[in-house]
Symmetry: C2
Subunit: 160 residues, 2 copies
DNA sequence: TAACAACAATTGTTGAAACAAATATTGTTG
DNA sequence: CAACAATATTTGTTTCAACAATTGTTGTTA
């Protein structure tokens, strides 16, 4: 009869679980840094990314749901997210005549100015987050993450 | 005069940024699967993890803030998280006589039963999330994530 | 062309996340 | 030992996230 093994309980049920929890934990730690920065400007990370998307298209507009689809994290609340940006006059919206269902969204001059003030601090933030990784570690990480999420991406994403 | 290069705008400002956004995106995609599962049992992922922690200690209790510190994601709302679990009688709480500031939390039999019903589905969920990665890819990913978050961890975490 | 399906956005509502401030208890120090 | 600092938790409040249902518009088809 084997002696009762009094070893410490295994921390994880499986390598898949360990990887997922590790992903969650790491995201949570790094996000804290970003949130601090954006909070100083009364922005959320999602709002910032919506503005970035719009800057990328400027001066062309984007339809509301196109923004929702391209955001990093899914955004069922896209209307109210844009509401807040519009109240601050960082974006403007208008329905298009040809298809009155669609609302086109553009970034304003004030929005562009806010983003350009944020460019350097955001870069420094990413430096603080992950500046301690080598170029090779970064590209390995990026590749592994891409592989990890591939089966869970919609096909025609800007993210595939 | 150089011809205007009409190449596509670069998607990311830096490899650090790409890695962080990639992390965020991947977390968001995988979390959707977990959330679906837990929602069927009226749980959040955080609540589930609090229960897991308590199961790991059972029959010993854990102090409220100890749970908060050990959770994957930080939990400033720990009191109300535990309130909801207590209302459902999945945990029990009591102040200790020796130090009346502390509230000790234990998992109940009902809590243990719920967790055991969830064991198999959770395992299958992690399988769906990351089952397409090889063992080597998983351990590489785990290692890279650990390296990525290390400077941002408090020293005496269960997560260091 | 009337009825219905599909699409785009909005609204209502609920629960959770985040921060700051407050309460109760215990430890420390002049 | 009184005053104050530190600890552990709770509460108040605001904002965000998520889901379902609704409105308004356009496309399709019997």
């Amino acid at each position: 009869m084997p002696a009762p093994t009094k070893r410490r309980q295994k921390a994880f049920d499986s390598p898949r679980q360990e990887a997922y929890l590790s992903l969650w934990r790491t995201y949570d730690r790094l996000r804290t840094l970003e949130d601090e920065l954006f909070a100083q400007h009364d922005l959320t990370a999602q709002q910032y990314n919506a503005l970035r998307l719009l800057r990328g298209q400027h001066p062309k507009p984007l339809a509301t749901l196109t923004i929702a689809r391209r955001l990093i994290s899914r955004a069922p609340d896209i209307t109210r997210l844009l509401d807040k940006l519009e109240q601050r006059e960082l974006i403007s919206r208008q329905r298009v005549a040809e298809n009155r269902r669609v609302v086109q969204v553009s970034i304003t001059t004030a929005g562009l100015e806010l983003l350009s003030r944020l460019d350097a601090p955001v870069r420094r933030c990413h430096e603080r987050q992950l500046g301690h990784l080598t170029a090779e570690q970064l590209s390995q990480l990026i590749e592994l993450l891409k592989t990890a999420r591939r089966p869970h991406e919609e096909p025609n994403q800007s993210w595939s």
